[in-house]
Amino acid sequence: MILHPALILVLGALVLPWLPRAARQAAVIGLPLATLWAVWQVPDGAAWQLHFLDYTLTPLAGDRLTRLFATIFSLMAAVGGLFALKQESRLEVPAAMFYAGSAIGVAFAGDLITVFIFWELMAIGSTLVIWSAGNRTAYTASMRYMAIHLLGGVVLMAGIAGHVAATGSVAFVPMAPESWAQWLILAGVLINAGAPPLSAWLPDAYPEASWSGTVFLSAFTTKTAVYVLLRGFPGTELLIWVGMFMIFYGIVYALLENDMRRILAYSIVNQVGFMVVGIGIGTEMALNGAAAHAFAHIIYKALLLMSAGAVLYRTGRRKCTDLGGLFQSMPVTAVCGIVGALAISSFPWTSGFVSKSMISQAAGDQHLTFVWLGLAAASAGVFLHAGIKFPWFVFFQKDSGLRPADPPASMQAAMLVFAALCIGLGLFPAPLYALLPFAVDYEPYSGAHVVTQLQLLLFSGLAFFVMLESLKRTLTISLDFDWFYRVFARRLSEILTPLFTGLIAALERSAGALANRGGDVLRRHHGPLGALARTWPTGSMALWVTIMLLAWLVLYYLF
């Protein structure tokens, strides 16, 4: 029997907190690497089957797409574990491993029920990661986060139940959202992808985790949703427009943001938007592009958040207004942050360039002019909001006077591994292309492509520095959809509570009055002096019976 890769991490995570420190540190890197090995032992097709109620579940099934996502998830868990070796919390890293394992479980799920089970386990693991930051802000953020994900889970479960009831099959196969059940599945998955209108859960919660927690969070939930969309809803046109919205939402909110990790959180929504557009286009090129972009994105986004995490670890500060000039004393962190920033901007010779361009190419091939124009503008916008803004405000800008040292060796090593991968995949895309679900017939490095991309990005950089005054950071946040459940709902309850209390009191009063009146009536008729409670002589009773019998006799005789 083949080992289930997800169970190595999920079950391993349950043992981790009780291990002594040295063993725990070894396991935090060893378990994900063992998982990576196990991922490549899973053959194509269903490997595990079991019967549950009336259904045949397939908790373990492999194919190219599954292996691609499971590979990057395990790699992410290993390098994230390395980065988090100095994490003092005994809960966070085991929770992160549990979370990573559940994401791998979704990737290997061959049926919708297994998808749902691991989906919910992910919500638990990720909530614990945020929660384990151990302060009040993180606690309240984790509760809001969990509420949204449980809602998403309920929507997904309702969809799956409806789908299974209608088709009689639990198999996880491509769906076109036609029935209401499939629409619910799509909606449940999109909530986890950070799609509108609920996107705010992501920038609300992720930046509240610890310096290492956010690194894990950035990788799994949204990319698992991308995986499920890739498998379940390829070519659903609506996704193009949902993705476009996410792309520009991410850019605009990141431009307004002051907290360095919230900038990067908004840019997760932006990057997932590119993948969702690719899934919506739905050609082999576009789906390859979306899958490749998810792979590349996990690496460079984790790298960016590691460099932000290193700054937070050393300085305890997260606001751009408090930071600046750190390149002088944190050269390794700054260089790694810049490599991540170049990769997210799809700079030539980085991983983002070889993956994102496939999505644009697919839009061009399908003659989707406005989509192509939107993607081109968005590429420039990514350089603007993440590519330059993050490194500029954190490492350069003004001199904040802070002179923190680079972080400990384990954190530097993790950053260097991912920085090397960002450049390595950019220079040698062939191994990544070989992992993609469809055969790749695409050459990213044409002269024209490199020149046009450089123009787009460098002139975006020009716009940044020319308009720097407009981008100056202020001590502000931007209202988002979370305002509705954090402020509006509370105010509404403050208004409605006295209203309802008054209404209920009035109802109680009138019900009481009604009951009293009813009692009076009863008393009048049935009370000691009531007409119906009087005693009647037996003689009058006999008289009335005689009269009625007579009447009956007369009527019987007449008719």
Partner: protein, 83 residues
Amino acid sequence: MSTEKHWLVRPETIKLLWRVFIAVLALTVAAELVVHLHPHFGFDGWFGFHAWYGFLTCAAMIVFAKGLGLLIKRPDTYYGEDR
């Protein structure tokens, strides 16, 4: 610690960096004369299309964000200290 500024943030270095940056910008546009572009839609073959499209869309996004900021920006203590 010396009071002298790091060489990278001295005004003369910044001036030099600007000159290099502008030269590189000019080079990427001039490269169109040498590299054969294969425009897909037509308009993307206009001279320096990606350069001015990148610049203008970014400027537009900054202006739009700034305008939206007037509506939705709040002090960062808006949700209270422990939010």
